[in-house]
Amino acid sequence: MGRALINVPAKAKRGEIIEIKALVSHPMETGYRTGPDGTLVPRDIIQRFVCTYNGEEVFSADLFPAIAANPFIAFTTVATESGTITFRWIDDQGRGQIETAKITVE
């Protein structure tokens, strides 16, 4: 998959709603394009995105070829406690990529 850029505030107040942004490098090949030799380029997309907060799933998404290349997702979550927010992207072949971010909640 490649690089990922995550934006999670390093600090937040307990109960505060924080915005999280996640961007990952991936061509999101739709399977509908033809390559230079005229044959269809096979589909290869990230189909699932999961965000867990200290192990509990707080947000997830099912993605389809209509999601733009280098998928970008922004969503919110409540800052409940300090810990680790984990991001997982899973592609058509079941290959995954994991990124984490730490948050301090006071």
């Binding site: 509908y32 509990e56 707080v58 070829p65 209509a66 733009a68 970008f72 922004a74 969503f75």
Partner: protein, 154 residues
């Protein structure tokens, strides 16, 4: 479909395989239509009625480039454990496939608000449907014109 797994293919199998291959050559990738979008929406909401409202689909009316169109969906909801948005599903009517994405939220989401960037193959209508924890469905839609920048890759 013909079996090609070590068993001797009989004449009927070979003819069927040939016809299948020929039909593949003749058909092009299916394109979504307003009807197939309706089918996809039906499979998401089942028998329930989809009501207009509570959902705000924020997407530019005039799209600079269909390869990457920013989209934001917000749903009016307290987002408590008794009353929250479970899923926000986005549909389109003219891309090859009617689904765009399904976002699954939880009471821990705080707000029902999601942003992403999508691809649009043509000017069309986009529909966002929110499934609430009480089993109701709400929606918003937007009609977009997709243009192309000048001087594109040949």
């Amino acid at each position: 479909m013909a079996r090609l797994d070590g068993m001797r293919a009989n004449r009927r199998d070979v003819l069927a395989a040939g016809a299948g291959a020929l039909s593949l050559l003749l058909t092009r990738p299916a394109r979504a239509t307003p009807e197939s979008m309706a089918v996809a929406i039906r499979s998401f909401v089942g028998e329930a009625t989809v009501q207009k409202g509570r959902v705000a689909l924020d997407i530019p009316a005039l799209v600079e480039n269909g390869n990457s169109v920013p989209l934001k969906v917000t749903v009016e909801s307290a987002m408590t454990s008794d009353d929250f948005v479970k899923t926000i599903a986005i549909f389109n009517e003219r891309n090859p496939q009617p689904n765009v994405a399904n976002f699954h939220l939880t009471p821990r989401s705080g707000r029902a608000e999601v942003s992403t960037r999508i691809r649009l193959g043509d000017s069309q209508t986009i529909v966002a449907i929110a499934q609430l924890s009480d089993g109701t469905f709400w929606s918003d839609q937007a009609e977009l014109v997709v243009t192309l920048p000048a001087c594109v890759e040949s």
